[in-house]
């Protein structure tokens, strides 16, 4: 019995040793709940702007990539502890996040956020405003006079406005546009505050090789216009 346990342990410790190479597969962490950036389509696959962008970047950087879904709240801790190698989830580059992880160069322009409400007269200045937790919008509302209610997923922030729990929701315009188009009961109100410094891929600080590879790939897509084409196709916002 002892022998059996020992050999199991040794097998566990050495399993797949021969397969190991430096970064043979890059695991791409995304949220999968933020259309048109990233979402799970009817086939259960990750789809959207960042899926197409990520696949193209991996091709250019000659990397073998695999997609992993992780909820937004724990997306940085799970990157840092090594469950996947990149975050590609519409994450804006901010100083606060830069203390924990590195970012590639930005692949979208800074995009103004918008307030979406259920009535024209909604109080977006001092009312109750919904936002997804741990986002630049949540931090922005907390600094204004409004009352912040946070939700774990983007979809729940919209539901909160629909059922009257919140007066308005603050989110990226690119996320709100398709929702406002289909629901006549929702409309944009108030300012369009410009927060955040564009979206980039999050990468572990210790992984600077990988960061440089993706930055180079993003730069090459910026240079030949393919990135702009993707931004236009998915209606993400301003082009470069």
């Amino acid at each position: 019995m002892k022998k059996l346990i020992m050999s199991t342990v040794i097998w566990g410790l050495t399993a797949g040793l021969s397969l190991a190479g430096s970064h043979s597969v890059i695991r791409m962490g995304t949220e999968g709940a933020y259309p048109p950036w990233n979402y799970v389509d009817d086939n259960g696959e990750v789809a959207g702007f960042e899926r197409e962008l990520g696949d193209e970047l991996c091709k250019r950087a000659e990397l073998n990539c695999e997609w992993v879904i992780n909820d937004w709240d724990s997306i940085i801790p799970n990157l840092v502890s090594g469950n996947y190698d990149t975050i590609i989830a519409g994450m804006s580059i901010t100083d606060e996040r830069k203390e924990k992880i590195d970012f590639t160069t930005n692949y979208t322009q800074p995009d103004p956020s918008s307030y979406l409400a259920a009535s024209e007269g909604a109080d977006w200045k001092t009312g109750i405003i919904a936002a997804q937790s741990n986002t630049i919008q949540a931090a922005y509302i907390a600094a204004t006079g409004a009352t912040l209610v946070e939700f774990a997923t983007p979809e729940e922030t919209i539901a909160a406005v629909r059922n009257g729990e919140a007066d308005a929701v603050l989110a990226d315009a690119s996320y709100l546009n398709p929702i406002a188009e289909e629901d006549p009961g929702l409309m944009f109100v108030g300012d369009r505050p410009l927060i955040g410094g564009g979206v980039g891929m999050g990468i572990r600080k210790s992984d600077s090789d990988l960061r440089d590879k993706f930055t180079a790939a993003i730069d090459s897509m910026k240079a030949d216009g393919t990135l702009n084409a993707l931004i236009v196709k998915h209606e993400i916002g301003e082009t470069f």
């Binding site: 040793l17 259309p35 048109p36 009817d42 259960g44 879904i69 090594g82 469950n83 629909r162 210790s206």
Partner: protein
Amino acid sequence: MFEICIDPEKLSGLSWLTCYITTPKHLNLFYSVGTVLLLLLITAPTALLFGFGGAVMARSKILLIKIVGNAYISIVRGVPDIAFFLFFVIAIDQLLEWTRHKILCPEWSEPIRQGNDFVVCTAAKLPLSSSPQWIHEVYGFLLAVFTFAIVFGAFAANVLYGAMRAVPKAQIETAVSFGMTERKVFHRILIPQMWIFALPGLGNLWMILIKATPLLFLLGVEDVVYWARELGGTKTAKFTSYPHGDWRVWYFLGLLIFYLAFTRVSELIIDNLMKNLSRGSATLGGDLQRYVGR
């Protein structure tokens, strides 16, 4: 899945619903029900084993073993489940990777902890980043089973410890006077008779275990609650062939019925077991069966 589903816009009513609930994305909900059942099926006996070990250790006459057993029971029972789940799983994952790192990459000179990052050599990763996604999922699932077993094992240990002490002293004394060794008393008298005292507590634990399965999502396993929330949310026509409004209430109603039915069936089985175990045992329940009739 079905041929009629090729053009969802033309469908309506029941055929739309049939196509909707059989999209590959929606099937994940049904798979996750299987995941939950599998988790319970593996965790319950494992936790019972942990509990039995803990109870026997806590009863030991050797001081050190007694202390270890008691420490396990009281520490795990005292720490909130969520804190335990968040801390323990990351800790055990990093401990395994750290061990593999020390064995597999002795020539590695950089520190493992670099600021926030936990960096081990590629060969020490668990599972290897080159392994397919299902291996990552199985690994996460096994970590979940292990964590659940540790937590519920501590509660089970407490129940079993109490049950062993509840076996009437006269039974033990009689066995000893028959000349049975300590081992024999334990195996033939104490263990068979303690179950009747343990069963109410263990049944209770089983119910709590069923209700605790949504904690799986904390461990990165996509469980029924995750899929109910994800599938129930409003879907815009731009991103799916099956747009719908906020259906979370229906999905969660389904979950409610699922869990209620599940706990009800468990209750019936436990009651039945209780009746069978009471037969002929030296408890009030057993006495009642003898005198009042069955």
